[in-house]
């Protein structure tokens, strides 16, 4: 009985690894036909034409990278700043805990609800600001198109809302793990609060925070529903952030149900690329956290 239970639990543990392998193999198997047909051209071309069966995922790959990286650019200062605000004793502990709780609850709101909110509330509300951006910076290709509803910019903002809780939570843990002795040492030689933060505390926590940022990047790349609902799902390439765009995940969400033949395989190919991207980012995140973790 003892032995049997051990084997059972071992099999269940092995199931986790097998499941991961099965996911990779299933997607790879599904993608093989498209890989053979389109090769690496798939990554660099932007035609997505179910009529003539020509597929290239450049628009979606570009959209995935741009939306996730730009959302990170906004969310990292916000998240780390919030984490500092709720780990330092700038405000009473009860308020700090309340803010922490609210950020955690924000993480619990389903993506599809955020998407609904983005369509009907956020996008109409920020459109004047985007139009202003277009008028001021319209000379730059990044803001060259007139904002008309769904687009990359609102998708980036909703991604910020989605990854902010991860960055905040991980930064908060990282800052809390910085030993008290180190803070005392910094204050003891007469640094100010922010002097200690920038010179001693943040550098000590930076590897954990970086790991958290990478996890957030992986999440942003794979995020589907909210982005799909607000990005416009355009199949045409436009470099402008104010124009509709697409991501791999939203392309999958929109087309998978109705696709057949080689389109399914092309979508699987795109899914494989998305999986590899998130895999690299996640493994890097774990490596950073493990290898460069606090030297204390």
């Amino acid at each position: 009985m003892d032995r049997g239970f051990q084997l059972l639990s071992m099999a269940l543990a092995a199931f986790v690894a097998i499941l991961l392998l099965a996911i990779v193999l299933t997607v790879f198997q599904g993608a093989r036909e498209a890989m053979a047909t389109f090769g690496t051209r798939f990554i660099t071309t932007s035609s997505w034409d179910p009529v003539s069966n020509q597929y290239g995922a450049f628009v979606a790959i570009y959209g995935t990278l741009v939306t996730s990286l730009l959302s990170l650019l906004i969310a990292v200062p916000l998240g780390v700043g919030t984490a500092i605000f709720i780990t330092e004793d700038l405000i009473p502990a009860s308020m700090r805990n309340a803010i922490g709780l609210m950020v955690e609850l924000l993480a619990a709101i389903p993506s599809v609800v955020l998407g609904l909110w983005a369509i009907f509330v956020m996008e109409p509300a920020i459109r004047p600001a985007l139009q202003l951006l277009h008028r001021l910076l319209g000379w730059s290709p990044l803001f060259a198109s007139e904002p008309q509803g769904p687009g990359m910019a609102p998708a980036i903002l909703i991604l910020v809302v989605m990854i902010l809780p991860i960055i905040t939570a991980i930064s908060r843990d990282a800052l809390n793990q910085v030993p008290l002795e180190l803070r005392q040492g910094a204050y003891g030689i007469g640094t100010t609060r922010w002097g200690a933060l920038f010179n001693i505390i943040l550098p000590a926590a930076i590897s954990s925070i970086t790991g958290g940022v990478m996890l957030a990047l992986g999440r942003a790349m794979g995020e589907t529903m909210a982005v799909t609902m607000i990005i416009g799902n355009s199949l045409n390439f436009d470099i402008s952030l104010l124009a509709p765009g697409n991501t791999i995940a939203s392309m999958l969400a929109n087309q998978f149900g109705e696709a057949d033949g080689i389109q399914v395989s092309a979508l699987m190919y795109a899914a494989l690329i998305l999986m590899l991207l998130t895999l690299v980012v996640n493994v890097a995140a774990q490596w950073i956290v493990r290898r460069l973790s606090l030297k204390y």
Partner: protein, 303 residues
């Protein structure tokens, strides 16, 4: 012993100032600026929560009635109706996912913590588990589509509640494994030794002593995983699909609240948009409720 006082106040190489606080100093201005910035950032970070919940309560709460829970969604273009089938569907699909992922996840977690604390196999499984938790939710939909829906291995059906539940269980599994593993690690070693000391076998120790001792963290993690799964949409779109009718068993396509929100939000009909808000209301209340429940469970252990 003679002592000559040393004066420090005029050490010319260091700045020496009065001990009183001088807000005009660069360093104090910089501090005030940074603190204000952090306060603004925190406000910006919590603002979306209030705005989302506010709109969900206002827009969704308006439609709250018995009808909402008891009726089917109307055909496009017509008014009225409810989301009864989607509520039942979300419960069914989430239940399937929980029934699959909890036994597997708890079992796997037991192995990691109790049988192979740090062997290479356990390290590999933990690594795979961490990677699995980072796999985008839409990929688990693609996986189940390729593995189950397209091949029709389950009862000859393509889209089904079962397939949707399996897709969700892929997302839940890493969380359950991790919380079990870490929850069991928190159990003091003395408790296990005590059980072995009175002659209990390893299985009995785990099932009767260790696992119950770690109940709180595991239950907390499982409730959070269920709450997360209940709100997931991406894995369900092309596995459970959608159905305008009441559920017809777990081997048929089924409506869920999350997919209903997605489908109805992008429809050009006001009645459907309103139902999407109503479903959001129900879903958000359920999920926030589960989160608070998890919090309450974890507080129970530490009174």
């Amino acid at each position: 012993m003679s002592y000559t006082p040393v004066t420090y106040d005029n050490t010319p190489l260091f700045e020496r100032r009065p001990l009183t606080f001088n807000p005009a100093l660069t360093r104090n201005r910089f501090n005030a600026f940074c603190t204000a910035l952090a306060a603004v950032f925190s406000t910006v970070a919590v603002l979306p929560l209030f705005l989302v919940i506010f709109y969900v309560l206002i827009q969704g709460g308006r439609l709250l009635s018995l009808k909402l829970f008891a009726e089917l969604p109307p055909p496009p273009g017509l008014d009225g109706g409810g989301i009864g089938n989607a509520i039942v569907g979300t419960i069914v699909v989430t239940l399937v996912a929980a029934l699959i992922s909890i036994p597997i996840g708890v079992g796997g977690g037991i192995f990691l913590s109790e049988y192979s604390r740090n062997g290479w196999f356990a390290q590999a499984v933990r690594f795979a588990n961490d990677v699995l938790s980072g796999v985008p939710s839409i990929i688990s939909g693609v996986f189940v589509y390729g593995m189950i829906v397209a091949t029709r291995v389950i009862a000859g059906q393509s889209y089904s509640a079962m397939a949707g539940g399996i897709a969700l269980s892929v997302l839940m599994l890493p969380t359950v494994v991790k919380t079990t593993d870490e929850g069991l690690k928190l159990v003091p070693q003395e408790l296990r030794w005590g059980a072995y000391g009175v002659g209990a076998s390893k299985v009995v120790t785990i099932l009767r002593i260790t696992l119950p001792a770690a109940f709180t963290p595991i239950a907390t993690g499982v409730v959070l995983a269920i709450a997360r799964a209940a709100g997931e949409t991406a894995p369900l779109i092309f596995t459970a699909l959608f159905s305008p009718f009441w559920p017809e068993g777990i081997f048929s396509p089924i409506a869920t609240m999350s997919v209903l929100i997605f489908n109805f939000a992008i429809m050009p009909y006001e009645a459907q948009n309103e139902l999407a808000w109503a479903a959001s209301f129900v879903l958000v209340i359920m999920i926030l409720g589960a989160n608070l429940l998890a919090r309450w469970i974890s507080k129970l252990a530490r009174p």
